[in-house]
Amino acid sequence: MPPFQGEQPIMAEKLFYFLSFLSILSALMVVFSKNPVHSVLYLILTFFSLSGHYILLNAQFLAVVNIIVYAGAIMVLFLFVIMFLNMKTESEKPLSWLMKLSGTLAGGLLLVIFVGVIKQADRFVPSEVDFNSQVGLVENLGAVLYKDFLVPFELASVLFLAAMVGAVMLGRREAGERNF
């Protein structure tokens, strides 16, 4: 992109930090909001900001799949179940403060371990000679998927069939069960 050589760098960096801020904030809201419907909506926002990250990283195919599969299909399923169960009012019993404190402390200590490991890692600088920026496009990914990963790809279809049969079996109404 020669015409934008001057302003592009600052733009991309700012966009990264903005999207990171947005995704962390909405992830926190998923966990801490009282209403489950709000949690689902914040989770959709998180998925969209993660898709923005994928586009920044030149993984366009996965960004589109993320929007279609996660924000499209999975979140609609979540919203449907929440409305099906009619959980407008929060019926969750408040947890004791000791349990909340210990859970938060455990998560925070895990983060401390992660940060310690990441700080130890060497700074990776990609080499100019063998870098391929087109690696995340459909053409390249499709070639890899259907050449090297053909067997797992076919096995995934068997998994989907099993999941579909399982979901239908679980959702079937038993004889003598209460109705809604």
Binding site: L57, V69, G136, A156
Partner: protein, 109 residues
Amino acid sequence: MTEIPEIIRLVPLQHFMLLSSILFCIGVVGVLTRRNALIIFMSIELMLNAVNLMLISVASYHSDPAAQVFVFFIMAVAAAEVAVGLAIIVMVYRNTRNIDVDFLNNLKW
């Protein structure tokens, strides 16, 4: 073809790793501190996405397509997992009228 995108040149890989670690830990805290089964399920989705972000960032910095195919498989498995998990939650609600995980302690000890 060999031109490195600006984001990879300017933002170190550690920042992406830090972001995905933070998202993963938020998911862990959600699983540990909430009792609503649906919110726990959403926190698990959050953790899966944090791992996806880590894999994609490493794949892009190394320009390796294999890790991106791996993320594709994670998304496929996550879709199947959500379908079965939500069916289980609906079934539990139909039988007990409650999806509080503290309520489902018959198999605890």
